[in-house]
Every structure is written in C-alpha cells, then in structure tokens.
Amino acid sequence: MPSLKDLKNRIVSVKSTQKITKAMQMVAAAKLRRAEDAARAGRPYAERIETVLANLAAGMTPGAPGPKLLTGTGEDKTHLLVVATSERGLCGGFNSSIVRLARETIVRMQSEGKTVKIMTVGKKGYEQLKRLYADLIIEHTTFENVKTVGFDQASAISEKLLEMYEDGAFDKAHIFFGEYQSVISQVPTALQIIPAQPPEVEGDEKIAAPYEYEPGEEEILETLLPRYVAVQVFRALLENAASEQGARMSAMDNATRNAGDMIDKLNLQYNRARQAQITTELVEIIAGAESV
C-alpha cells in the first residue's frame, strides 16, 4: 500500500506529464493548420501540371519511342522505394504504419525475385528500416535543420532520383508516405513516381484544339517530366507533414485523456488512504479516552 506521500507525488508527476502532452497537442494543432494550408496551396500547381502532362502524353503517337521517364526502361527488375517519414516521434503509429507498408512491399518484391533498393527521407523511417534492411538503403535524407519543407527540398530529392535513373540504378521508383485524410485518419500510401503515370484524359477533353509547341514537343516533355517527378515528391512531403501533425495531435489528445483518467484514479486512491488514516486516528483516540 503506497503511502499518502507517494500517492501525492505520483499525482503531481502525472499532472505535469498531462501538461506536456496538452501543450504538444496544441502545438500540433497549430502546425497542422499551417501544413494543411501548405498542402492546399500546392494543389493548383500539381493539378495543372498533371493536365498539361496528360494532354502532352495523349498527343504523342502511341508506340513511338518517348522519353525514358514516361515509357520506362522496358524492364521491371530493380525497384527503388522512397520511404518518407517524419523527423520526430511521439506521433502515434504514423511512422510505423508507413514503414510497415514499405516492409510488406519489400518482402513481396523480394519473393518475386526483384531487386529492392531503399532511399529514406526523414529520420524515423531510417532508424526503423536500418535494423532490418541496412544493406538495401542507398540514400538517406533528413530535414533536421529545415523548418518547413519547401519545393527546393523536394526538387533536390527528385534530382537525385533522376540522376540515379539516368545511370540505370533502378527501373521503377515508388514513394511511400502518409496520405492525409483527416486528423484521425492518415493512410499509408505507395505511389509510383518513375516512370511517370499521367492520368488518363477524359474523352471530351481530348479533342481540344491541337497545340502549338515552343520549342518542340519533345523538348517540352523533357523539361516537364523531371518537374512532374519533383511535384509528386513535393506533394508526398506536404501530405506527410500534414499527416504527421494530425497523427501527433490525436496521439497527444489520447495521452492527455489517459493522464486525466490516471489522475482521477490516483485521486480516489489518495482520498481513500486519507480517510483510512483519519479513521484509524479516531479509533485510537477513542480507545485511549475509554481506557482512562
């Protein structure tokens, strides 16, 4: 039976933990709003570049040799998995769920006899994957010193990817990230980024007037595709940032609630112990008075 003093100490310590989780939840809520805004602000560009690429791809003669970035290397042997996770922990199962999806994919691909390479973005995923697949990780990027992820970081990553692709280091690349749906749900998602997969053009949009290209169609496609890859990476990073804050917010909300429950329980115990002590004291006094 813990003493009154022990109980008091525990209540104080749980209360201060609750204060910390509460503060973290509030910080995450504020950051989430910013991350959501950033994700929303980035959407028009991504949508537009998608339509432009889809138009261009639809205009290309089918079967004609196009740029490698669009048509692929013609092989399906080596896969590069870009695993994007957060820099910090304390955000529930956010990082683990992304890593789990990546791990399942790795196991599946390896059983199919494919070569898998990993590139990690963010500290947490690197730490988790290092334990199992240290020899597969070929690149590692962290944003430890970056406050908010901008397009520059995304294009740095995509440049690295394109360089490796040019060297023939892999045939296909997928990016893993947490897609933000709401504060309580973030879905780990895998997206193929190389070769690019432009969305299909809807039937009635296809017959739009023929474009004139300045300079040629191929040059445009050549500058557009790398950008498209960068935009995809950027989108994944933005989604990830929003998901991370959402996951942290709900994790910290849970922690605050659990701490509250614990405080209630401890308070009850404390009050009981105090009552018991008073009763014992009273009994002792009465017994003493009677014996006189």
Binding site: A38, A41, G42, P44, Y45, A46, R48, I49, V52, L56, G150, F151, A154, S155, A208, A209, P210, Y211, E212, Y213, E214, P215, E219, I220, T223, L224, R227, A230, V231, F234
Partner: protein
C-alpha cells in the same frame, strides 16, 4: 477589351487567378503576348518579367523556369519560382542574382543554362 482567365501558380502557392486583358510572357524562344482568343500554345519560360495587364494597370512578376499553357480556357503559367515585383529586393534579389551569376561563371555548364542565367541577370539588372 475582351478578357480571359489567367492563373499564375508556383509549386508552393497560387499567386494570381482571375480575368485579365493581356499577359506578356517571357518564352524561351522570345517574349510573346497573350490576349483573349489566342491559339493553343505550350511554351517553356525563360527567366524574366511576366507582365499582367488588367484594366490599364500593369503588374510585373519575376518568373524562372516553367511553362506557359495557353488553352481554350485561358492561360496558365506554371513557374518554378515566381516573385512579385514588390518583393524583388533585399535578400531575395541578391540570392537570385548570385545564383544566376554562379551559373554564368561556372565552367562547362550547358550553353542553354548559361543563356538563361544571362537573361535572368538582364531582367534583374534594373532592380
């Protein structure tokens, strides 16, 4: 004057969206002006100033890298970097200038990149 829809977007945000009279776009193969009813055109951008004419007023934006897409629905400019004229000062201006200068000075750089950097320097020169 007939107006048409124009939007200027960078990866990080949408800078402008609305109806305008005319837009002067710095294309790789020369500057061109887009007005309502322009034929569908897709062009790459060279670094330079994008001029938006709207009801007699002219707004200038420095753009670098990207595309202009003239379609039936209007003009969309996808710029990798877009800075409003009013923000073109201090650190932003210096870093843009330094970057372009570094490309010009670098040896063995692709001629197209050097040309683009020179254009960037030219258009930044008046600020």
């Amino acid at each position: 004057m007939a107006q048409f829809a124009f939007s200027l977007v960078s990866p990080e945000r949408e800078l402008f969206s609305g109806d305008v009279d005319a837009v002067v776009v710095p294309g790789t193969e020369g500057t061109f002006e887009v007005r309502a009813g322009h034929a569908p055109l897709m062009a790459t951008l060279s670094p330079g100033l994008l001029e938006v004419h709207q009801g007699g007023e002219v707004t200038r934006t420095y753009v670098r890298g990207g595309f202009a897409d003239v379609g039936t629905s209007g003009l969309t400019v996808l710029a990798e970097k877009a800075i409003n004229e009013s923000d073109l000062q201090g650190d932003t201006l210096t870093s843009e200038r330094d970057e372009a200068q570094a490309t010009v000075d670098a040896e063995g750089e692709e001629p197209e990149k050097v040309l683009n950097a020179r254009r960037a320097l030219d258009s930044l020169a008046k600020y």
